[in-house]
C-alpha cells in the first residue's frame, strides 16, 4: 500500500503551555511494496511519525494518505485502517496479556468481528509465519515463553490481521544476535514473499543496510536525509549532525578509501562487502607491480 506524507506537522498538546512540535513539515512518498528504514535519534519524531500511518495520531497540519485513506486534521479514521496497517511497538511483548498464546494472537482479529473459524485459521497461520509451532505453543501461557518467543507471539498478533503494511518500532531492541538474525530473516521473507510494505524504525543503521531500499533520516522532527542506504551512509556529516551513528563498516570504508587506489565508487555497507572490496584493491595493486 502506497503511503504519501505531505507537509505533515504534528504538535503535541496544542493550545497548552506544553505545546511542542514533534514533526515539522515532513513530506515523502513510499511506493507500495517498499522496505523503508526510518532512522533518527531519540526525540527525532520517529515514533510520532509512524503513529500517523494507522491513524493513532492525526496531523496537526498537512495530510497523510495511506492507500485510499486520507488523514487530515480532525479526520475520522476508518476502522479497517488499523487492520491494514499493523503497528508493532517497541518491546511488544510487554503488551501480551491473555492466558494463552492463542487468545493473545486472536485478540485483534476477534475485534475486527471476523468469524471464529477464520480467526482460528489466521492465528495458526500467523504463529507459523513467525516460526512458532501452533501445536506446541497455542495453549501455553505467553508468559512461560522466552523473551524472543514472546516477541514473536506479539508479532503474530499483528500479522494475524493480515496487514498490507507492517510498521516495526525498534523490533530487535534487546534481542541477542541470534534472535535478531531470526527476526530479520522473518521480516525479509514477509516482505519478499507476501509483498508486504515494511517500515522499520531503528537507530542502529547496520540492521537495515542490507534490507531497506530506502532510508529516511529524521532530526528534531524534520526529514533531513532521504535515499538509498549507500547514498545515506555516505553523508556522514548529516548523520553525525542528526545524532545517528554511522555504521562501522561505512566509517572504516570512508577512511581506507582515502588511500586505496582506486577509491571506492560506492561505499560498501556490510563487513562482508567491505572485506571483499579491500581485498580486491590489494589484489589489483599486487597484480600491477
Amino acid at each position: 500500500m502506497e503511503i504519501v506524507v505531505d507537509g505533515l506537522t504534528h504538535v503535541y498538546d496544542v493550545g497548552t503551555p506544553f505545546a511542542r512540535p514533534a514533526l515539522r513539515e515532513v513530506t515523502f512518498h513510499l511506493p507500495a511494496g517498499s522496505f523503508v528504514g526510518i532512522i533518527g535519534a531519540t526525540g527525532s519524531g520517529k515514533s510520532t511519525l509512524i503513529q500517523h500511518f494507522n491513524g493513532l495520531l492525526l496531523p496537526t497540519v498537512g495530510e497523510v494518505r495511506v492507500g485510499d485513506v486520507t488523514l487530515r486534521p480532525g479526520s475520522r479514521v476508518p476502522p479497517t485502517l488499523r487492520q491494514r496497517v499493523g503497528l508493532v511497538f517497541q518491546y511488544p511483548e510487554h503488551q501480551l496479556f491473555a492466558e494463552t498464546v492463542e487468545e493473545d494472537v486472536a485478540y485483534g482479529p476477534r475485534n475486527f468481528g471476523w468469524p471464529e473459524d477464520l480467526v482460528r485459521q489466521r492465528v495458526r497461520e500467523a504463529l507459523e509465519a513467525v516460526g512458532l509451532d501452533p501445536d506446541r505453543v497455542a495453549r501455553r501461557s505467553p508468559f512461560a515463553l522466552s523473551g524472543g518467543e514472546k516477541r514473536r507471539v506479539a508479532l503474530a498478533g499483528v500479522l494475524a490481521a493480515q496487514p498490507e503494511v507492517l510498521v516495526l518500532d525498534e523490533p530487535t531492541a534487546g534481542l541477542d544476535p541470534r534472535g535478531r538474525n531470526q527476526l530479520v530473516a522473518l521480516i525479509r521473507q514477509l516482505h519478499r514473499e507476501e509483498g508486504m510494505t515494511v517500515i522499520w524504525v531503528t537507530h542502529t543503521m547496520e540492521e537495515v543496510a542490507e534490507l531497506a531500499d530506502r532510508l529516511l533520516v529524521l532530526q528534531e522532527g524534520r526529514l533531513v536525509l532521504e535515499g538509498s542506504p549507500a547514498e545515506v551512509f555516505s553523508r556522514r556529516d548529516v548523520l553525525q549532525q542528526a545524532g545517528v551513528e554511522v555504521p562501522e563498516p561505512a566509517a572504516v570504508a570512508a577512511e581506507v578509501s582515502r588511500f586505496l587506489d582506486p577509491p571506492f565508487a560506492e561505499m560498501p555497507l556490510t563487513v562482508e562487502a567491505l572485506a571483499e572490496a579491500i581485498a580486491d584493491r590489494f589484489a589489483r595493486r599486487r597484480g600491477r607491480r
Binding site: 531519540t42 534481542l175 579491500i278
Partner: protein, 282 residues
Amino acid sequence: MHAAVAYEGVGYAYPDGDGQPMWAVRGVTLTVACGEWVALVGPNGSGKSTLAKLAAGLLVPTEGKVTVCGIPTDDESRIGELRSRVAVVFQNPDNQLVAPTVEEDVAFGPENLGLAPEEIRRRVDEALRVTGLSALRDAPPHRLSGGQKQRVAIAGALAMHPEVLVLDEATAMLDPQGRREVWATVRRLHRERGMTVLFITHRLEETLAADRVVVVADGRLVASGPPREVYADPGRLEALGLDVPPVVALRERLIRRGLPLSRDVVTRDELVTALWRLWSTA
C-alpha cells in the same frame, strides 16, 4: 581489601513447573576487583542476567556464595548495607520508575539511605546534571521517551553513589548519542570515584574499553581476559552466536583473504593504520 563482587562456586536454579531445578548458572567462580570495569557477554539464556541479579543481591545463590564488598548477599541482617553499596539498572526503564516526577524518582534511593536533605539535594542535582536531565526534573517520567526514562533510571542509580554499579543491558534502548553520554558519565565516575562497573551488553564493541571481558554460555564461564586477548580468537564467540565487534569481524575476513594483519588489531584506528602500512609496502 575485599573484592567488589566475588562469586564462589555459584549456582542458581529456577524451579520449573514440575519442581525440578533448572540451573541458570552453575559452578561460577569469578572475582571482580574494586575499581575494575568488567563486561559480561553471552547469548540470550546464557545466565548473564542471573549473574547480574546475583551481584545486586536481588537473587541469592542456590549453591555457593556471592559477596559484594565483603557482604554476603544472603545475610538478611546486612541487606540495607548491601543496598547502599550496589546499584543496578536494567534494560526496561518502565519497570524501574516509581515517582510522579523525575526529580522525586532520582531522590527515591538516596532518601531510603536516610541521608540529610541537603545531601540528597546535592546528589540529585549532580545525577540529573551528569545524565543531562536537569531541564526535565519536574516532568512526569511516563511522559518521557524510552531513552530519557532510561537515563532517569541511571540517574537514580548514580545518586546512590554506589561502590558497585551493575548495568544489565542498560543502554540497549538508547540511541548512539544517549549511549555515548551515559558511558561517558559512568566512565567518569569509575575513574574519579573508583566505582566498580559490571555491565552486560550484546554490543561487543562496547566491551573494547573494559579491563576484562567475561564470556558466559550455558550458565558457565567460558572465557575471561582483556578484550584484546578475548577477541584474538573470535571464532569461539561467533560459534556461541555472538556478534564480534565489526572491526574484529572485518580483520578476520581480511586475514582469510590473505592480508597479513595482526590479531592484536581491535579498533577502527588500529585497522585503518595497519591497512595503510600494508598498502604503502604492497
